[in-house]
Subunit: 459 residues, 2 copies
């Protein structure tokens, strides 16, 4: 059984993101893939005679009404030489959501079933086209939201973690030794020596696990460092700066659907780094409950931010409120951006910021003047953070980290109960099992279901 459907069923789903776009890809996989595709195209013969992996032009019709839906290109892959290892068709159609839905409907009414999350990859796994490590590496690559996350996924993809196997063998050795200890008398001098050596091995592995966990945690935390919050009083030009920073980088980045309901946030790509740029509500005292909540959310955003860009108006003096707010952010990476230098000099505010020991830059968003100072500051802040980052050798995604922590816990228990070898052995066995679950060795349907439920549809 693949996912929740018999393996013989042919599945279909859109494999690209939804939205208005030039193109989209729809995938069909299964023994009936070619038959089903033939039912929804006008030029059936062309498709049947087309060689594998050769892109042809086709006219897609509604399988019931035979009305024309779209002109597409499509390619067939013959089993087992396809991503899933089954017969597959990849349709490249126009990217409108209406068109994609109509084609998908047509395929489904022609006999395919809508594919569940990760259904294609799961078939690839079952047909031994990829292993679980590679499957998860692909998911990691797709879902990575920072350069470091991506580096982890890529490491997993390119060189499956050999350490996993080494550690498993070491743990099995230790377990064998502990079992020997149980078997024989403790008075035996040899056994005492084994016990000591074995403990050393265990300590080493515990230390390695600890180190890995720390590396991984740093990578998870770094996502916060990549949050850049634009803060400051109302009407200082926060949103204009936000839009300007976005606009400069839009040619590559476009609009990501990252708008939250409370704070406006967009993912941008600045000098090779993926950042989350957040435009926060202006801080001011208010009696309105809802506005208070908005400001509360801004303050929470400050806490999580890796860098705060405090935008202030050159033509107005610092208010007491503003100074208090800035002081409360001490300890954070902060830059004071004195805006509107087109209408007024920022010198006075610059000096005050200097006295407060806060880096300041004078810019004009309106005249697009000295914005590079802000970008430069963002990049140097990220670089400082990145220098502390090391890509783990083993815990290269969430699931590995989770399992790894369980292994760590079990090995620590084993160490604690070293004097009681039966209990130590019990924990060692648990640890080995957890480690083996990383490979999916247990071949447990439930584990696989859990893993694949996190994939996206069409993958």
């Amino acid at each position: 059984v693949a996912g929740n459907m018999p393996r013989s069923e042919t599945i279909a789903a859109v494999a690209t993101a939804r939205g208005k776009s030039a193109l989209a890809i729809i995938r069909i996989s299964g023994s009936d893939a070619f038959k089903i595709f033939s039912r929804i195209v006008l030029n059936t013969k062309t498709f049947i005679s087309a060689p594998a992996r050769y892109i042809g032009l086709y006219t897609i019709v509604d399988s019931k009404t035979k009305e024309i839906i779209d002109e597409v290109t499509a390619v067939k892959y013959l089993a087992p030489k396809s991503f899933t290892g089954e017969n597959m068709v990849e349709i490249i159609c126009h990217g409108g959501t209406c068109i994609v839905d109509e084609i998908t409907e047509s395929i489904i009414s022609a006999g395919a079933r809508p594919a569940g999350r990760g259904a294609f990859t799961r078939r690839a796994l079952e047909n031994k086209k990829i292993d679980l490590i590679k499957a998860e590496a692909i998911r990691g690559m797709i879902e990575s939201s920072s350069n470091f996350d991506l580096a982890c996924a890529r490491k997993l993809y390119n060189q499956p973690p050999v350490f996993l196997k080494e550690w498993r063998e070491t743990l099995i050795n230790i377990l064998a030794e502990v079992e020997a200890i149980i078997e024989y008398e403790e008075e035996d001098e040899n056994i005492a020596k084994i016990k000591e050596k074995s403990l050393e091995k265990l300590d080493k592995i515990i230390k390695k696990l600890e180190k890995e966990i720390k590396k991984r945690e740093k990578i998870r935390n770094v996502e916060n460092y990549l949050k850049v919050v634009i803060a400051g009083p109302a009407n200082a030009g926060k949103s204009s700066l936000f839009n300007l920073l976005l606009g400069q980088n839009r040619s590559i980045v476009h609009d990501d659907p990252g708008t939250t309901r409370d704070l406006i946030s967009e993912n941008v790509w600045i000098c090779g780094y993926h950042l989350q740029l957040i435009d926060s509500a202006g801080i001011r005292s208010t009696i309105h409950e809802i506005e208070k909540q908005g400001i509360e959310r801004s303050r929470e955003a400050y806490k999580k931010a890796g860098l705060i860009i405090w935008v202030t108006d050159a033509s107005e003096p610092f208010s007491k409120e503003e100074i208090d707010e800035i002081n409360s952010l001490k300890g954070k990476e902060i830059i004071c951006v004195i805006n509107k230098t087109d209408i007024c000099s920022g010198k006075r505010k610059f000096d005050i910021a200097k006295k407060m020991d806060i880096e300041a830059v004078e810019i004009s968003v309106k005249e697009n003047r000295k914005i590079e100072l802000v970008t430069g500051k963002i990049v140097s802040a990220i670089k400082r953070v990145s220098e502390e980052i090391e890509i783990p050798d083993m815990f290269l995604n969430e699931r590995y980290e989770e399992k790894g922590k369980e292994v760590y816990k079990e090995t620590c228990f084993a160490r604690k109960e070293w004097g009681r070898p039966e209990i130590a052995a019990y924990h060692l066995r648990n640890g080995i099992n957890r480690l083996e679950e990383i490979f999916g060795k247990k071949d447990d349907e439930e584990i696989l279901d859990k893993i694949f439920s996190k994939f996206c549809i069409g993958k």
Copy 2:
């Protein structure tokens, strides 16, 4: 010049929507497309020797650091047998935004330029691979948000509007006749006859234009009919019903990035219709300015809605406020959904709704009971609307409509000034020019720039 760059430049852009997805497509087009792609892959030789339109496996690297970015499939198209008519490469990569950005960066640093909006289609147009009508039809198909919009775009794509040419010829004939009238004496009996016949022709064309404009306007208005607003007091189960209706249809529809900041809205596909389902804020009296604004927005949404689903709690009596609100919606398509029948009978409220002459259904969102009554009501409301819809023959998109209205205006002027043939001729000439602009006959860079600025990137 194509767009804002010399035609010789090779351009690149992602052609699929952004977001986490299994796959994405990146396009490269231009004379250096193959050279540039060769610079970013490890297996250059495979690519060079690959036949056109044949999908191969490639390893993409950073063009500077040579670090591996992704394993992809790619296909080359040899000029002029490609979408743009130039050499092209289409890369199908993993769909993560980080990966897509890195590959795009690599292509650009290897010598390509980021493509502007519609740049690929514009090259296709310049290389005579498609005409302007087809180009705009494709844009229409991609951007259509209703079945009727899509039907318009498809009509344009499949059979370019012959009426345009007919009407142009008729107008030119009328103009020639008016010019003859100017040339000769009006006393001539023949001329008087021509004048009369010519006016008849003009009247006919004016009537046809009127009819077309009305058809088009109906289609634009129908979008509102496809807005289904879920309304009602707080805690009646509005959001639960919203999620349930979405969830039932998600297997095909997924999450569209249609969430507005004020009202939560999602595009769904119910029984073959694309709808916009809107979850509105609960109506109640409040003193808070911001909450008032939210409620104001809900009321605006009611006005634009094609169908209002008024959700009410079976376990609570109708409040005076609620009854007033429902009464104020008289004249709208409305259905009263009595929810929570799992805890209380909805009979009393059902009878009250009946007295108010409003259709009511009793359901339980919690127990997923009788939801099909709501879906059925939605579908029948849309069907009623669709029956009144006719697809225009000519004004198949916004631009055509705009130009068509200008033609209409000029012909009406000409008719009004029929007694003064010089002025009538002037307006007829204007009308013909406007009509010709639809074809892009004028070949005016400015008009083309304007048209293509509405395309998406990667198209």
